[in-house]
Symmetry: D2
Subunit: 337 residues, 4 copies
Amino acid sequence: MIIVMNRGASDEAIDAVCERLQKEGFVIHLSKGVERTIIGAVGDKTRIDRSNLEALPGVEKIVPILQPFKLAGRDFRQEDTVIRIGDVEIGGDQVQIFAGPCAVESWEQLIESARAVKAAGAKILRGGAFKPRTSPYAFQGLEEKGLQLLAQAREETGLLITTEVMDPRSIEVIAHYSDILQVGARNMQNFFLLKELSRVNKPILLKRGLSSTIEEWLMAAEYLMAGGNHQVILCERGIRTFETYTRNTLDLSAIPIVKQMSHLPVIVDPSHGTGKWQLVRPMSKAALAAGADGIMIEVHPNPSEALCDGPQSLTPTNFEALMEELRTMTRMMGKTL
Amino acid sequence: MIIVMNRGASDEAIDAVCERLQKEGFVIHLSKGVERTIIGAVGDKTRIDRSNLEALPGVEKIVPILQPFKLAGRDFRQEDTVIRIGDVEIGGDQVQIFAGPCAVESWEQLIESARAVKAAGAKILRGGAFKPRTSPYAFQGLEEKGLQLLAQAREETGLLITTEVMDPRSIEVIAHYSDILQVGARNMQNFFLLKELSRVNKPILLKRGLSSTIEEWLMAAEYLMAGGNHQVILCERGIRTFETYTRNTLDLSAIPIVKQMSHLPVIVDPSHGTGKWQLVRPMSKAALAAGADGIMIEVHPNPSEALCDGPQSLTPTNFEALMEELRTMTRMMGKTL
Amino acid sequence: MIIVMNRGASDEAIDAVCERLQKEGFVIHLSKGVERTIIGAVGDKTRIDRSNLEALPGVEKIVPILQPFKLAGRDFRQEDTVIRIGDVEIGGDQVQIFAGPCAVESWEQLIESARAVKAAGAKILRGGAFKPRTSPYAFQGLEEKGLQLLAQAREETGLLITTEVMDPRSIEVIAHYSDILQVGARNMQNFFLLKELSRVNKPILLKRGLSSTIEEWLMAAEYLMAGGNHQVILCERGIRTFETYTRNTLDLSAIPIVKQMSHLPVIVDPSHGTGKWQLVRPMSKAALAAGADGIMIEVHPNPSEALCDGPQSLTPTNFEALMEELRTMTRMMGKTL
Amino acid sequence: MIIVMNRGASDEAIDAVCERLQKEGFVIHLSKGVERTIIGAVGDKTRIDRSNLEALPGVEKIVPILQPFKLAGRDFRQEDTVIRIGDVEIGGDQVQIFAGPCAVESWEQLIESARAVKAAGAKILRGGAFKPRTSPYAFQGLEEKGLQLLAQAREETGLLITTEVMDPRSIEVIAHYSDILQVGARNMQNFFLLKELSRVNKPILLKRGLSSTIEEWLMAAEYLMAGGNHQVILCERGIRTFETYTRNTLDLSAIPIVKQMSHLPVIVDPSHGTGKWQLVRPMSKAALAAGADGIMIEVHPNPSEALCDGPQSLTPTNFEALMEELRTMTRMMGKTL
């Protein structure tokens, strides 16, 4: 950590910063320039709050040198993390497609989606049972009934299932039914939820928050890992920018960056990332080309009757055609689908 | 609601949209132009999901005409909402200052802050008992012990108290102790939390999310109101933009806009909004000049020893000087402090 | 165009808006709802300024129905525009790679770059002669000398050349030497420059502005086309967002969107779009997978000696390896490189 | 400047960086930690391009310690710069109001605006003669004729005049007529224009770019000052964010920040900053409360007939009322209007 002092910071101020750091076991490198005094501090950063130092008199700014996360970082683990559920691998040489409707609406809708998803070659079924909607007047999900339908669809098709958890009180029931638990973009920094999930023995799919930096996203993964759950799958799903033509701006550069900074697998959700089904096809291919370990796609037997997110859902026919293209792309990337 | 059809949308597509709308009780105004067909639909918008229409063949876009919220809007209630707790009024002719430390750390720290806040003329003490920190390794709050200290400080000083709630499971205990319950920026769209809070009989201070539009903020207020809790205080605390010099970009234009669109009181938190104590003074004055009903300010007896947010906290001395200036500004705005 | 009136707008106000529209030849569709009166107006939008209507009493908002550009839009021209310079095609079945150094620094640096670019199979050499630098103390380019070196490199290698124009006074000299004239992100809305370039008989490569929406970008193309120059190549190069890990956020969704809204060719610049050479490889492949007509890549014989943008430049060896991968990707997309 | 090396950077890589720095006259402080080696470099930063260092093998990141601007910074000049034109002072104890129409449309419109502006107590008349419009089909200004009308209005009213310059070729004619030359937000980084303006002996009003950081804004001022023109007035006019309710997000925190970092005067343009005349009143007052040296306001005798920016223009009556409030606010800030 580097502490930059104000121009004209007094010797007392400089000494006070050094003493404080030394008290916490830091080794100090002092460098007095003509314009600024700079203090380098080597030690255990968790011993001191960066913002405390910033509040000391004469301090201009603190420059962190190391990333704030440890367990989620490449420094901690060099090889890629591969998450295995039965014979399904996430993060290795397989590319995984997570597909299904935004919300579980009925048995017919779900099983029709599940069969289409399975027939086209995907291995993981997605579907929301608890729905966080921006309007209190919109459909809020089938709740436990939805979880039971998902489990039934798994039994019939052999697909794994993944569904979102939003409330610490429903973790237990969701973990009972679902193979993978999803944390939505709006809950990426719901630290109470993350803490509870860190004690669950199931993989967590952690979506990037709408306005979260990559560093904050990896810090949220760190919360899960620090509590003991190392099975974290990251999911890029678009960030909020000034561009309003798409629902969000899908940040595909995040894929190679995460691969550099972290060992965790990372997938992409172009359905939420763009909000338009016509963009799902090109952006799915682009995501694989950028190195993603998987794609999450909304598929609905009848998008215009969907109780949520119809405009970004593919029909089974369009999904099948896309899978064909993704298979070619996967081969080109040296992986299997 | 206006439905704009694609150039070259077929008559069947147009008819299908009209039928769907009429089935839900909408009255249709059809306007066929040379380049586009436009369908105006008048009716109860909660009967149909906008995104379903967008998923129908031939639909280019949907243009909503009315705001999606009702209870939170000026159309629903013309006069300003005033929230009364004892003789303290929020949203009327009084300006309220909410002040205190970021986190409750100890009795000494809290009572010293509380006395300073009280002496300078503020009426509401803030202090976090449960702390959502971006790092799992940082101080996480004193929890119920913190609530008890807040209650004790209220007893000694007569100040009202406000503290943040982050987990639906702790609503009961927080509502037992606190006069006002705070929803933080990261939880503004935690709809499960909002639903529970909508049944609590205490005022809710609802902070604007980091990347939330004003409309989404008012929709979050609508969640609280739709469930029965009409005592909502809005709080602008900065949005995330490309500018990194400040922690967030404080959006003061939101004040007069909220006053136009809604009847709810709105306050400003320049401590979080800027992240730098030196900016708290000018931005507090600017917030009052823009029409805010109150200001929330972090005050700590010793900012450089604070367990969180030291750099944005005022010392008691600086706070007292600021209160002097705010008193003059309040008078100028024709209100009382 | 739809005009939404305020709740409670008077009949006089409604009549005034209708009269104003009718005076300009618009046909009016009036729809009086319980909550709002809505006026549909069909006619020649260039006859009236939208903002004038917004300034009329009682007007709440104006909702445009058609896109503001004409010549740049798919409605105007259904088939893709293909720009031909000799046997090089931009926008058709060929994928074009534009490669070379950020700035022309010397004959040795340029010709070494050019030969590497040529050997690896690219057909267009890029290189800046006039450099807009954020610091007045940084290298500002070789100016006309740089143009001469570019022309000489073209002679030796047979590559086409492209270079940036920033000042209307240098259009003539640049058009004399260069095959394609580039408008940088910072000048995308330099309308005086665009107007002059609209009269030049050379293709224009128009970079998207740092904070420009796709619609504004196409409006800038419209400026060029309205003045008579229809040879416009669009170039996505990243937008500014809150994420600071990359220099900009490369918005690859813009590729399929532009393809939908416009007939113009669109390429991607991952060097500026990410600012890091390690990201150029995955993002180039992703750009082609998303449907880009070409890629612009910075290549420098010795990036750490580069006078600008070293960190985002590929070495000739890395560039050659990337070209191999792009060739495979191009084939997969059914195009040729 | 601090150079942070990668974990595991080789000794050769570290030596290479040190040698490069020493060659340019930097003094080196080497600090080898367990996880990272850090190189502190003290010297003349203009001797080396930061990005070159970033391109050297083994370098993780460069952390600048000092601000990149010199002449524009407080370190260079402690006291506030006051710009004097006749008896009008910008940046001292006077608050200046710049007011007038967006565009000069006709003598009648201009003189009516000018008289209203003068009567209400403002001292500087604004009005565009050359208009950069996003649509090529919109009104583009009266050009030199507009300048003549402005000069005539000055003669009649005694107001100073300010108008925008967009093209280096029109600097001479604009400098001939106008008292202050304005650089618009879209041209803030038009470095060729800035270079030319740095040789003009008239004050320059430099608007902040739509997506410019405060540091980039001060670097643009540095361009003007490095060329010899130290009469720079900064103008905050809103930045582009995800919030679309306002045209831009007015960043009032920029005022106290600029006052801290620089000695230059800074004014605010709430008309462009919000795009809505109803917000001009509260945001003008807030700007003064935040410490602005002046306000720029669009005033038009008949906003709904304005050829540009009608919705954000005040009528003379509204302007007069606002001036009354600003006078009170100015007094409260200890200044004069």
